[in-house]
Amino acid sequence: MTAAQTPTTYPGARAPDRTRRVDAFGVEIAVVEWGDAEAPPVLFAHGGFDFARTFDVFAPLVADAGWRVVAWDQRGHGDSEHAALYSWESDLRDAAMVLDSTTTDAVPVVGHSKGGAMMLRLANTWPHRISRVVNLDGVPSGNRMPDLAETERTRMLDEELTGWLDHRRRVAGRQRRPGTISELGERRGLMNPRLDAAWLEYLVTVGARRDPDGWRWKIDPQLRFGGFGPWRPEWSLRSIATMACPLLAVLAGQEELLGWGTLPEDVEPYAQPGTRFEMLDDAGHFVHIEQPARVAALVLEFLA
């Protein structure tokens, strides 16, 4: 592919103004920033299988309103180091290291999907360091727990466990499948069916690397979607009840593969007085990518 065929632009997308690295106990975390370095900071946490540059349209809208937007690639994602081990706790610790490297004051945080759930935990873990939380379609509810017969549950869990262990048996030394920009964009489109092809191809140019035999997503091949583990969605709801700072929860009305299908009434019993809910009926899980101006306006109003 020639340079002329490489779409390096997308309407409204802007590369970060600064990049830096944070050492999270031996794992290098890539940090990017938009906006004036002296402006008050706000942390942006991406979702699972995403990376910081998925904020290339959304973050500049917030930065241009007078904020220093600090985002990072979670371990194994984007430009951060591929770690040997991955866990919820280590992601939370890495996030704390990024926060520490940014400021010792309390900061507002914005998190999408898994990143939003992580920020709810961080607000409980370091209550004195988090001043506000914006959660973008990252409040899991129990809605998706299917009511299955025991034999069916056994079969499904067996498939999950076998699939995950089989993946780990063959992952050593593996690389992601190479392809053209449009092929990688199409592959990502399977997970992001509501996002337009031009955006997905733009993401390839910032989230994949160009090898001699084609483009490869930078994400660690060791990472895999998995549906098992001791974690329960209601634990995130409990985090909402116990956190000490104000919360804005933006929920997507359009259900899709990666979304939680969480409704305001699922969360309201756990919400503290003053919690703000914004249900975007016409948006899917990636609310800030589908409607960046609208979500940025909500965030800026909440942070003001």
Binding site: A24, A84, Y86, S87, L92, R168, P230
Partner: protein, 224 residues
Amino acid sequence: MITWLTHAKVRLALHTLRPAADGGDGGGADGAGKPLLLLHPLAMSSPATLPPEVAAWPHAVHALDFTGHGSSTVPAGGGYTAETLMADVDTALVHLGPATLCGAGLGAYVALLIAGARPQLVRGAILRDGPGLAGGSPSPTSTVIRPPDPGATSTPDPFALAELSQDVRPPDYATAYVRQALHLSGLEHPVSVCAVARPDWLAAVVAEPGVVCSDLDAALRRYA
């Protein structure tokens, strides 16, 4: 003798404490005899020699050092889960073939997980007392962002201690693995509990069909 195994980015040490009579690993479907695989407690490692309490096992005996323990790799930056250690054991089972597991403490919990996840390869899981048997509470407590011990220079990895002593263990998560083992292993008693301590997850396991409580000698005879 140590056999080095690769699990993703980690090198695992599998110790042979008693070789098979034919000199091989003692596994596989050739009827050479089922190997016994020992899984150590939290912060411990494989024994250097055959422990007398399992000497009655009539076949080969091996012991695995979990990630961050013993002679296995200490990865940077932590990120331990019991599920990752379960996959450590799966790596050993690829090498050994079907085996009986004898786990103590954390190793007992991991033995239960892999017994449910690879029911065709685990020919009985024996759960014993030891450090890390309890794990964390049944649901998350206040998380502590733990810095590692700056004085640590070798195994056990301080991150392993911090993370694997606090991993969440809901009782119904543990019993899901018992049910997988019971339904899919073909064994009448896929899990034998020899532990006296009964944290919530283990108390729930003991109450499940297919789980039998006995002393270690009886458990070894059951699967030999």
